[in-house]
């Protein structure tokens, strides 16, 4: 059996995906101690987990330093990296939407959009025939319309509570997001048996 390296986002997605692997019959310890560790070895299954920032998972996979990874569709859309998208794990489901102050129109001359996802936002507004100016922020995007930095924000929405609490309303639903299993193109060929096996077994758990 060949060694397989898997990049996982830290936190809740890791726990959910890890549980899916256990449910799929992989021999993994029930509890993993992962306080500050960045690598977890599972010799029984010849698997090594790399714990990364969600935004970085596709980077590791594209460069081939890990074979497969679990990444949010939002990150994949934003970064457009050369990876194979193999399976929708249907965990951490949410969506990307535009939002703003209630009953407002976008500025006609230079509508401004604040977002963590400049490419996704740019592509969306291009698609609907609207030329916008993008302001990239790294967090607390909801602030932007409230203090007059932008007309709209484009951000992840899961329950809509954050928007509501900050007095914003959702305008357009842009795209659905969930966690995906992705693979490096070379690993996908060189370790095809192992990767196919994981895909098949996880697919049964998803459905």
């Amino acid at each position: 059996m060949t060694e397989l390296t898997i990049a996982m986002p830290k936190g809740r997605i890791f726990e959910e995906a890890y549980q899916m692997l256990i449910d799929a019959g992989f021999n993994l310890p029930e509890e993993v101690e992962m306080s500050r560790k960045l690598m977890i070895e599972i010799p029984e299954e010849k698997i090594r987990f790399i714990l990364a920032k969600p935004m970085d998972v596709p980077v590791y996979v594209e460069h081939g330093v890990v074979d497969i990874g679990i990444a949010g569709k939002d990150v994949l859309l934003e970064q457009k990296r050369h990876v194979h998208e193999l399976l929708d794990l249907k965990i951490s489901q949410c969506y990307i939407a535009s939002a703003g102050l209630p009953n407002t129109k976008m500025n006609e001359i230079a509508p401004r959009i604040a977002t963590k996802y400049p490419n996704v936002a740019m592509n969306y507004y291009k698609e609907i025939g609207e030329q916008v100016e993008i302001i990239e922020l790294n967090g607390s995007i909801e602030l932007a319309p409230m203090i007059g930095l932008a007309d709209r924000i484009v951000d992840i929405v899961s329950t809509g509570r954050t928007l509501k609490e900050n007095g914003l309303v959702e305008y357009e639903r842009i795209t659905d997001v969930s966690s995906r299993l992705i693979a490096n193109p070379v690993s996908y060929r060189m370790k095809s048996a192992r990767i196919q096996d994981i895909v098949t077994r996880l697919k049964k758990i998803v459905n």
Binding site: H84, L86, D88, N184, P185, V186, R189, S192
Partner: protein, 388 residues
């Protein structure tokens, strides 16, 4: 804009240091010998080409082209690949002298990039083109040559994945309702977005037989051992027969173990009309090379004789290559000025033995000890004891 520091190079440009240079040269010589022995003639083409000829016809995305303007106002490009210029020169000249042509190249190509490290903007490519032979044997020769070339570099762990643009088109057209749907699916396959493919198929609301067939296809067709497995999706046609023959020839050459078929394989290069393939090897996260039949590009240059070929990324080959053989012995010959003639004589006789001899004046050295350390052997030509 930050100011450019003295040591900086444009993004993606790399210096070649002596060790890499030698490794590259060795690799080039092995490749040249191997390909010439198979009847391939090496050619080179200009670094600069017109945007309207080579630039536009090339398969490389426009945003990746380095563009310049000449004194007449024409847009020029730094060649982004070798296949397009070779097609230009073959269709305008070489095909009149010989057909089919078997050409080879080892040349630097340029792809602009603004992203991040790990992607050179200039790199060497090595490859072959067979122009003017539409037979299945030409395609088989290309694949077999690619495999044996890789083997020739003592790389053992590698794989070739073969697809066929015609068969994929057949399947996509047969099982969708209109061209838009087929194109949508094709572009998802180019991105290798299998999840998106399944979602799109479901969203099209196709008759159940069609959508079931497509969903089954996407699950099965990425990793196929024998051509028979794909036959249930397509009615018997020439392309299928062609692929069967191709598989047979590869088997006759006893190279089947390196080959698998993926009928979802698709390229944004619409000039790939028939068989196309990708080459992968352990040791690099990126594909080693690719190739295929590009009759469409020839057609663009006004010829219908057909062409097929492959290219390998030399930078990735360098990354993969096992440790290199020991270098020739390096010798430093440090002489005192008065004894230059003697030193020269000695140097020449050592050079005739095949050693790499550096002749260095003792007076010219700032730090003799440090200098001596980088050689396998150090000899002194000095007054006291003539020679040690």
């Amino acid at each position: 804009m930050t100011t450019i520091k003295k040591f900086e190079k444009p993004i993606g440009m790399r210096d070649t240091f002596p060790v890499t240079y030698e490794k590259n040269e060795t690799l080039r010589n092995i490749g040249r010998k191997f390909l010439r022995a198979r009847g391939y003639e090496f050619v080179n083409t200009p670094t600069l080409e017109y945007y309207d000829t080579v630039g536009k016809a090339s398969a490389i995305y426009d945003a990746s082209l380095f563009k310049l303007v000449d004194s007449q106002g024409n847009t020029l490009v730094l060649r982004p690949d070798m296949t397009t210029p070779i097609t230009r020169v073959a269709t305008s000249k070489l095909l009149k002298e010989k057909i089919p042509l078997r050409l080879a190249y080892f040349a630097n190509v340029f792809r602009a990039q603004q992203l991040e490290g790990g992607r050179p903007a200039e790199f060497d490519q090595m490859g072959i083109e067979i122009i003017g032979d539409k037979s299945v044997y030409a395609d088989a020769e290309v694949i077999i040559t690619a495999i044996q070339l890789v083997q020739n570099y003592s790389i053992e762990s590698f794989k070739v994945t073969i697809g066929h643009a015609g068969i994929l088109n057949c399947i996509l057209n047969d099982y969708t309702e209109n061209e838009n749907q087929a194109n949508k699916l094709r572009s998802l396959l180019i991105e290798r977005n299998y999840v998106g493919f399944e979602e799109a198929v479901i969203s099209f609301d196709l008759p159940k037989t069609k959508s079931d067939a497509l969903l089954q296809f996407i699950n099965e067709a990425t990793n196929i051992e024998t051509i028979e497995q794909i036959e249930k999706y397509v009615s018997k046609n020439d392309a299928l027969l062609y692929m069967r023959q191709l598989a047979e020839i590869i088997q006759q050459a006893d190279l089947t173990k390196y080959v698998s078929f993926d009928f979802t394989l698709s390229s944004h290069m619409n000039y790939y009309t028939g068989m196309l393939f990708e080459l992968f090897a352990d040791g690099s996260g990126f594909p080693l090379g690719n190739g295929g039949r590009y009759d469409g590009l020839l057609h663009h240059f006004g010829s219908d004789v057909g062409a097929t070929g492959f290219g390998i990324r030399v930078d990735r080959l360098l990354e993969i290559l096992p440790t290199q053989e020991p270098r020739e012995k390096t010798v430093a010959l440090i002489f005192e000025d008065a004894l230059f003639t003697k030193a020269l004589e000695l140097a020449n006789s050592l050079r005739n033995e095949g050693k790499l001899v550096t002749l260095q004046s003792k007076n010219g050295l700032i730090n003799e000890e440090a200098f001596s350390l980088v050689f396998d052997e150090v000899l002194y030509v000095s007054q006291e004891d003539q020679l040690q």
